[in-house]
């Protein structure tokens, strides 16, 4: 079981043009900002939207191509989980889960028994007779997952499955979803704008911005080596572009960064905010990366204060609330920022 697709959709200013492949048992996360075309991509993969070009191949069967092969959604083997669960409000939870079995010809009693089994697997045993409106958000999303998986589809599509849940519920449902995705043998595509979902659930991540793939890789790769500002911000890094010569990178915006490895040619430099130290005067010793910068904003961020800095280099520093208080900084203040060369990640552009 596998998915291979090339999807082209033109919608006004946005042109979506994405190629992807998902192997058996693999979970691909499509990560991107709102309006990047992620949901459009998923609707095309489901057969709910006709693309302007390309092809969708599931298990070697072309279900859509621009030569005229168009298999409608209801004739495909797929399960889909929607952001706000979309359980049918007029049916009981068990009937919702059994719906796909019934439309595919299963007998009522058989469908009901299978549905009950799935409700048990997602932790909703005994709630089958309830209406969707009587479930909590987390329970409803579990029921929606059971409804999508019950027919053992070749393709599982998840459209922002956790984003409608509150933070605590999201944590538990995410863990359960991870377990069910692990058991699932088909190809799964997860669309999300939350990097934590992508990192926690996916085997591979596709970053889509403005209708194009800007980065692809394992979650760890994407988290360590972001290639766009959007991804860098998501994973909490500052991304700087430059050109490497030896252990020095000349940044595109002027200035330079010293790095630990030998590099040549166009590179990205990624800096973790917690590795940036702030001083009121030029620090003693000889750290190679020291810049006089200006504090633009300071925002409390859990136990630290996130300081956005401007000057030769646009940096972000996370300092402890205590340090921040001792430094007595206010927006507009001049500070010295330093970062060790060994703390800077550098990789080819």
């Amino acid at each position: 079981m596998s998915l291979a697709a090339h999807v082209v959709v033109r919608r006004g200013a946005l042109t979506l043009d994405v190629e992807l492949a998902v192997a058996d048992g693999e979970v691909l996360a499509v990560l991107g900002p709102n309006g990047a075309g992620k949901s459009t991509l998923l609707r095309v993969l489901a057969g709910l939207l006709a693309p302007d070009g390309g092809r969708v191949v599931v298990d070697g069967d072309r279900v859509w191509d621009d030569a005229g092969r168009h298999v409608p959604a209801h004739q495909r083997s797929l399960g889909m989980v929607f952001q706000d669960h979309l359980l049918f409000p007029h049916l009981s939870v068990a009937d919702n889960v059994a719906f796909g079995l019934r439309t595919r010809g299963a007998r009522r009693a058989d469908a009901r028994a299978t549905a009950e089994g799935w409700l048990d697997r997602v932790g909703l045993a005994g709630l089958g007779d309830r209406r969707p409106g009587q479930l909590s958000g987390g329970q409803a999303q579990r029921a929606a997952l059971a409804r999508a998986l019950v027919g053992d589809p070749r393709l599982l599509l998840l459209d922002e499955p956790l984003s409608a849940l509150d933070a605590r519920t999201r944590l538990t449902v995410r863990a359960e979803l991870h377990r069910h995705l692990g058991d699932y043998a088909g190809s799964a595509v997860l669309v999300t704008h939350d990097p934590v979902d992508a990192m926690a659930l996916a085997d591979r991540v596709l970053v889509v911005e403005d209708g194009r793939v800007v980065q692809a890789g394992t979650p760890a790769e994407v988290a360590r080596r972001p290639r766009t500002d959007y991804v860098a911000r998501l994973v909490g890094l500052v991304l700087l572009a430059g050109t490497g010569t030896g252990t020095t990178v000349a940044l595109d915006g002027g200035s330079a960064v010293a790095v630990a490895a030998q590099v040549h040619g166009p590179v990205f430099v990624a800096v973790r905010p917690e590795s940036v130290a702030l001083y009121l005067s030029r620090p003693e010793g000889s750290p190679r990366n020291v810049w006089p910068l200006r504090l633009v904003t300071a925002t409390p961020h859990g136990p630290v204060v996130r300081c956005d800095l401007a000057g030769e280099v646009a940096l972000t520093a996370d300092v402890t609330a205590t340090s921040f208080a001792e430094l007595g900084l206010a927006p507009g203040a001049q500070v010295w920022a330093s970062v060790k060369a060994s703390e800077v990640a550098v990789y080819p552009r």
């Binding site: 609707r43 489901a46 057969g47 709910l48 409608p72 959604a73 209801h74 004739q75 797929l78 399960g79 889909m80 929607f82 979309l86 049918f88 409000p89 007029h90 049916l91 719906f99 796909g100 439309t103 595919r104 409106g133 409804r147 999508a148 027919g151 599509l157």
Partner: protein, 259 residues
């Protein structure tokens, strides 16, 4: 409650309810038993209820699919189609009756062919009452159901498609139950309109006791002769329709709300 809403609302209630009060006050209560026992009253009432119910069923059968086409399909000229099917709302019902003659009468475009082939002529039959009432009342149902379909979340239909349901199954098992309250409201509106229908019925179906004389026709003709008796008949029609609507609301509409 804000006064700018409360005052007009009270005026509206007075405007709509006072004529009813007038009927009740002017009704010759001592004679009401005798009036009700007159031959033909029960017959006209039965005919009204039966024909309005049949007209509503016919409207459901044809009007719900039409509403779906108007709300969901991508056919060209949809807005023109919508305007055309709501014409009976603005057409004076008497003109509607004449128009039905021109199509379904024994000299009509379709009716002529039917009459020559079978000798059957629709006007002046109970079926003609149902046809006239359907013509006038179906747009109410179509508009209600189309509104409900537009308001319903079409993504439920996407969800059904991903679960293997073709469009017809989706319509039956998802769309229709979702808009059931809208369909019920439309059917009630349609039934009430059909029950009170006068102009198209008396024109196209004529007036004959037991065959085509519904309550509104009986009321109108009685008004020519005996206004007090006409008031009694109107009150009977009112009481029966109110009772029916209240019963339906309790039994059916109240439970129909979902989500």
């Amino acid at each position: 409650m804000p006064v700018p809403l409360l005052v007009p609302a009270l005026l509206a209630v007075g405007f709509l309810v006072l004529p009813l009060v007038g009927l009740v006050v002017r009704a010759p209560w001592p004679e009401i038993g005798a009036q009700l026992a007159r031959p033909g009253v029960g017959e006209a009432l039965r005919l009204s209820l039966v024909s309005a119910t049949l007209a509503t069923l016919l409207s459901l059968l044809l009007g719900v699919p039409l509403a779906w086409v108007l709300a969901r399909s991508q056919v060209r000229g949809r807005s023109l189609l919508r305007a055309l099917v709501t014409v009976p709302l603005v057409l004076p019902p008497v003109v509607g009756g004449v128009a039905l003659f021109l199509v379904l009468g024994r000299q009509g475009i379709v009716g002529r062919w039917l009459f020559e082939a079978t000798g059957f002529s629709l006007p002046f039959t109970t079926a003609a009452v149902v046809v006239a009432e359907t013509f006038v009342a179906m747009p109410f149902l179509v508009i209600s159901v189309e509104g409900a379909l537009r308001a319903a979340d079409a993504r439920f239909e996407d969800a059904a498609a991903t679960l293997g349901a073709d469009r017809w199954t989706t319509f039956r098992r998802v769309t229709l139950p979702l808009v059931a309250p809208g369909v019920a409201a439309g059917a009630v509106l349609c039934w009430a309109r059909a029950l009170g229908e006068f102009g198209a019925t008396i024109t196209f179906a004529g007036n004959f006791p037991g065959t085509t004389q519904t309550m509104p026709l009986a009321v109108y003709l009685t008004l020519q002769r005996d206004p007090e008796a006409a008031i009694v008949l109107s009150l009977v029609l009112l009481a029966v329709s109110l009772a029916t609507l209240l019963l339906l609301r309790g039994r059916w509409l109240g439970r129909g709300a979902v989500g």
